[in-house]
């Protein structure tokens, strides 16, 4: 999905920000839609470095100028550590682009696959063996 679609996705998004600690323990297919890939660009506002999944919250600017909060599910902290991502790798306030899959309930929640940092560096943030499409970076 191109960045041009970011605003469309953001505009369609439902729900409000999730401030409470995320609470999910599930297979990919139980919560996320493999047929709804999306790309989100936003500033990191909150990182939950917790088991069973790390969560990255970002603030996405919509086309109309308003902002909305999204929460992005990552792999387990140990999985991320093995890929070189620790809880300090992405500072709060940093702009990132996330490629992932939208929640089935169409809330502002997604399963993250890749994070692209402002310098172009790409990090794989997902889990393997969860049933997510193309475990590992998605083929283009």
């Amino acid at each position: 999905m191109s960045f041009k679609k970011i605003a469309t996705v953001a505009g369609l998004a439902l729900g409000s920000l999730v401030s409470a600690q995320s609470n999910a323990h599930h297979a990919f297919g139980a919560e996320f839609d493999a047929k709804a890939p999306l790309t989100l660009r936003g500033d990191v506002t909150r990182i939950e470095w917790v088991n069973p999944h790390a969560w990255f919250h970002i603030e996405v600017a919509k086309a109309d100028g308003t902002k909305e909060n999204w929460r992005i599910e990552g792999g387990t902290p140990n999985t991320l550590l093995r890929r070189g991502i620790n809880k300090r790798s992405i500072a709060v306030g940093t702009e990132i682009v996330v490629d992932g899959y939208w929640a089935k309930d169409r809330s502002n929640s997604a399963n993250g696959r890749n994070i692209t940092l402002a310098n172009g560096k790409k990090l794989f943030m997902g889990s393997s063996g969860t049933g997510a499409p193309e475990d590992g970076a998605d083929k283009k």
Partner: protein
């Protein structure tokens, strides 16, 4: 000798007189006639026993980072640690609950994973008892590895009805 001891002695003598195959048959019969009374299926254990306990462990280790700073999730009081120890003990006990007749889906695979859950729960229990937040975080990761190993084998499809 008290009657209860006489009964136990006679049972031991009876068992000793049995061949291995007879003993196995007796164990099966004993399991079938034991006092277990299932209060729910595997989903029930997951939803009402294991999940809340596991999240009790997971929610008590790690960090929340915002612009305001970093908040560590580890308990800061003895009561808080005791609550985590309680959750961890329930996780460990859940492994045994999953092995009860009527819940176990197969023999070796199910048993190994369920025993792994007991071990992971006991790790978390020890970490909480020692008020060791790093060890608790690692034990939480171990609990999830067991969950994932089990789900990868025994969960079928995305609908709860498809699985045990």
């Amino acid at each position: 000798m008290p009657p209860s001891k006489l009964l136990a002695l006679s049972l031991l003598l009876t068992l000793a007189a049995c061949s291995p195959s007879e003993q196995a048959t007796q164990q099966v019969e004993q399991a079938e006639s034991n006092a277990f009374k299932l209060s729910g299926d595997v989903k029930h254990i997951m939803q009402w026993v294991l999940d809340p306990a596991a999240f009790g462990v997971w929610g008590s280790a790690g960090s929340i980072i915002t612009a305001a700073g970093t908040r560590e999730l580890a308990p800061t009081t003895d009561d808080g640690w005791q609550a985590v120890e309680h959750s961890a003990a329930v996780v460990a006990a859940s492994g045994n609950l999953l092995m009860m007749p009527g819940r176990a889906v197969d023999n070796e695979g199910w048993k190994n994973i369920a025993q792994g859950l007991v071990d992971a729960g006991l790790l978390a229990q020890a970490a909480a008892k020692n008020q060791d937040s790093d060890a608790l975080f690692d034990a939480g990761a171990q609990i999830y590895r067991v969950c994932k190993a089990c789900h990868s084998v025994y969960i079928r499809g995305d609908k709860a009805a498809d699985s045990p």
